[in-house]
Symmetry: C2
Subunit: 210 residues, 2 copies
Amino acid sequence: MTRRAFHHQPEAVRQHDLIAATLDSIAELGLAGATVREVAYRAGVTPGLIRRYFDNKEKLVAAAYRTFISDLIAMAAAGCGDGSALSRLAGLIRASVTAPVADGRTLSIWAAFIGTVHSDPLMAETHREGYQAFRDLIERLVREAMAERGQPVSPAEQRRLGIVLNALLDGLWIEISMGGDDFAEIDVVRIALDSVATVLGIDPAEFREE
Amino acid sequence: MTRRAFHHQPEAVRQHDLIAATLDSIAELGLAGATVREVAYRAGVTPGLIRRYFDNKEKLVAAAYRTFISDLIAMAAAGCGDGSALSRLAGLIRASVTAPVADGRTLSIWAAFIGTVHSDPLMAETHREGYQAFRDLIERLVREAMAERGQPVSPAEQRRLGIVLNALLDGLWIEISMGGDDFAEIDVVRIALDSVATVLGIDPAEFREE
DNA sequence: TCTGAAATTATACACTTGATTAATTAGCGT
DNA sequence: ACGCTAATTAATCAAGTGTATAATTTCAGA
């Protein structure tokens, strides 16, 4: 007849835990499985508590999407290092096609969220921001790398290269993360670096060394 | 007090209508909005009837996914025409980055389904089949096109090119279909053809003519 | 040590969902 | 024209959903 024991937690911690539990639920059970009760259970908390930290379930999911995307881009960007622009670009590519960015769990969460973008304005806005941020990152690296090589590109060409490279990286990321195939046997990093170099008109052998 | 009038329909028609209604629901309301009642309403039918043609809602959704993917690949393949292998490859690319393949509605449905693949074995199997079919199509076209040009590729190289081209097309398809940006101003077909040509080591100007 | 405010739980509600079943209707074969 | 089978509707159910609120517990500050 006694209530379960509990501890007070700072707001930031509880919000973080709830978001983490939401992402876990989505990864394992899909978006439909991320019910208020399931999330609360995984966070070691009672369903009602969620409402103290998030107005809606909708708000909770949106917040989870925001942190997920922001973390994802941060992980990719972290692979850049701090060398030349060309080596930073190579680093971004490496990070994009290897764990933890390219990963089944990550893809599952991304896919679940993407499925909501079209019919949910709140999710659409969050998506747009993340997409923009990633393509800006790519475009900047391309511009700096080409300038560094003494082959500066026009704004239009920079935009075109941004579109193509973004598509190429996204596609490879999905393909590898999905990974029904035995990508383990294949050197995905080399494939990614070589194809990007080819698109940029850089000698693949040279780019590989970066 | 009279019941609503109705008409008997052959099994194939009803199944088709129900699947179409399911896809419409998903496109407009997302997967969560594709309830039994919503689908029935759009099909001009009563909820209970669905169970006569599909064991589960799960089976209905899986069937919708199967026809969706199969139609999508058929639409892309229809762009190939029946000329040389190189021109068929160019046709596939054109079709992949223009409507009705590259299209907001199509992407929305695809995204909704993709979000379920990881947590639903039935959907996973359907996905695998469609993915396999599309990459086989690309690999075959690449092999034939390169052989036709007197530059036959090894199996390993063919596989590598298949991976890269598939990624590139998928990525472009998503980017264009999402279309938050003003892709209307940009010649996406030219971008797609040029980048594929570059990856294949073919002169873009030549490929563009195909 | 005690008290009050904040955090957390417990309980309940209204609603939607997918599923089930019996009653009714349509339309083909005879 | 008519009956019979299959198709369709109507009505209902149990389970699960997000949400609301009151009762309880924790814990910092006096």
